[in-house]
Amino acid sequence: GSSKKPRTLMVDSAMQDGFAKYAEYLNELNDKRERIVKASRDVTINSKKVIFQVHRISRGNKEEVLATAENDLANVTKQYMSKLVKELQGTDFWKLRRAYTFGVQEYVEAATLCNFCKTGTLLNLSEINASLLPLSDPSMEPLQINVLDYILGIADLTGELMRLAIGRISDGEVEYAKKICSFVRDIYRELTLLVPIMEDNADMKKKMETMLQSVVKIENACYSVHVRGSEYIPLLGTNDPDFSLFGAADFEP
């Protein structure tokens, strides 16, 4: 025998009304976040591809490789960063930062890497932000990459510069490597002072350790080629060590 009385019959309708409103808010927020996460992931993957493209540089193909990389980067900006820019405005910049920060960091890494290879200088945050302006609807507050994401991207940039430096030495471009070395040292020294005043800097502290290792790797590589080269200055009877003897460029006609 059952004498059930469903407990739900008397629903609290005021409560339901409130929650219908909350549900709508959450649905919109979640959908937006989901779109941003997807856009950010696309930015990440394609920025990584740009970075890989830059690493395909060799002595002979520099212009060509960089042109492709810059073109790819422009596509990332146009196709994927633009989606981010369209989704974000106002309080979103900070509220949804976690949804897009990795994409933006990787984008900063790719953009500054391309720029360094081309000009030998650090692409400034304001320059990057300026390049994003045309992407946004003029009626909206435009997305501006924040200082933290920029710095986090720069921190990763030094790892790529290390890879680049080793590769350049392999190709006999020692002066290029030395330039990278001094550039990365400057960045490391400047960041040393910024890290402690950054918010949520646990990640950044780890990145600083990796960065120091990168600096030392570049220094060791420069040292190694210098010592080796110094030996042959007397041997060759010249003051300019012939670093062109290094690398593949030399043995293939």
Binding site: R7, T8, M10, V11, D12, A14, M15, Q16, G18, F19, A20, K21, Y22, A23, Y25, L26, N27, N30, R33, G90, T91, F93, W94, K95, R97, T121, L122, N124, L125, E141, V147, I151, D186, I187, E190, L191, L193, L194, I197, M198, E199
Partner: protein, 226 residues
């Protein structure tokens, strides 16, 4: 040179933001302290202090708390649009505050404290600085965690009708939450925990029911108020 100059600018920016954050944290520490006292007052309900007395004691603390939110709002005016940059610094205090206010409100009215009502009690929602809806919902989950304990102590003190009332409220609340599409985040985890509160209250209701301690069923058709 260009690197140095740019990083000099960053340094100034970060130092400004740090000093702002320090001021926010100072307020948050005081909020935390008031919510502790408020919670302390509220706990007396488990020792069967009359609800009116509990509410009265609480009212004074709520005023203090409101004052702190006022100070916070003023600080935030200095950094428009960056509300969420510092949000983490007072989030958990706000969630606790909501849970306490909602419990008090339920004791008083038998109803759920709505989002706008909570904003009003905290003096928020006027400027850009409102009560984040997720914080509100998490606070409500926290409140639900207190109900099993409340019901156990009420029954111990001889109030055999409270399980029915709490169960009704919690069942409705749980059903209302299920309307939400939650992500795999903190709120979802807290909501998942609400299931255990519900289960415990069901058990207590079962205990009084099977022993014939619960008041006769006709009561159910009447008012929910205490």
């Amino acid at each position: 040179l260009s690197i140095e100059k740019q990083f000099e600018g960053f340094r100034a920016h970060l130092e400004d933001s740090n000093s702002l954050r320090d001021r926010i944290r100072a307020v948050a520490v005081e909020m935390e302290s008031v919510t502790r006292i408020l919670y302390s007052n509220l706990l007396l309900v488990h020792q069967s202090l009359p609800i009116s007395e509990v509410l009265e004691k609480a009212a004074r603390q709520i005023e203090v708390l409101k004052g702190h939110y006022g100070r916070l709002a003023e600080i935030l005016l200095e950094c428009p649009g960056q509300y969420y940059r510092y949000h983490g610094d007072w989030r958990s205090e706000t969630q606790t505050a909501v849970s306490l206010l909602a419990f008090l409100h339920w004791l008083e009215t038998g109803n759920l404290l709505k989002h706008e009502e909570a904003e009003k009690k905290l003096g928020l929602g006027v400027s850009e600085f409102g009560l984040d809806i997720e914080d509100y919902l998490i606070g409500i989950c926290f409140m639900s965690n207190e109900l099993p304990r409340y019901v156990v102590n009420q029954v111990t003190a001889g109030d055999y009708d409270s399980p029915r009332k709490v169960l009704k409220f919690l069942t409705d609340l749980h059903a209302a939450f299920r309307m939400l599409n939650l992500r795999n985040d903190f709120l979802r985890k807290k909501f998942d925990g609400m299931k255990y509160d519900l289960r415990r209250v069901e058990e207590v209701f079962y205990d009084v029911k099977i022993r014939g301690l619960a008041p006769v069923d006709t009561a159910e058709e009447h008012s929910m108020q205490t």
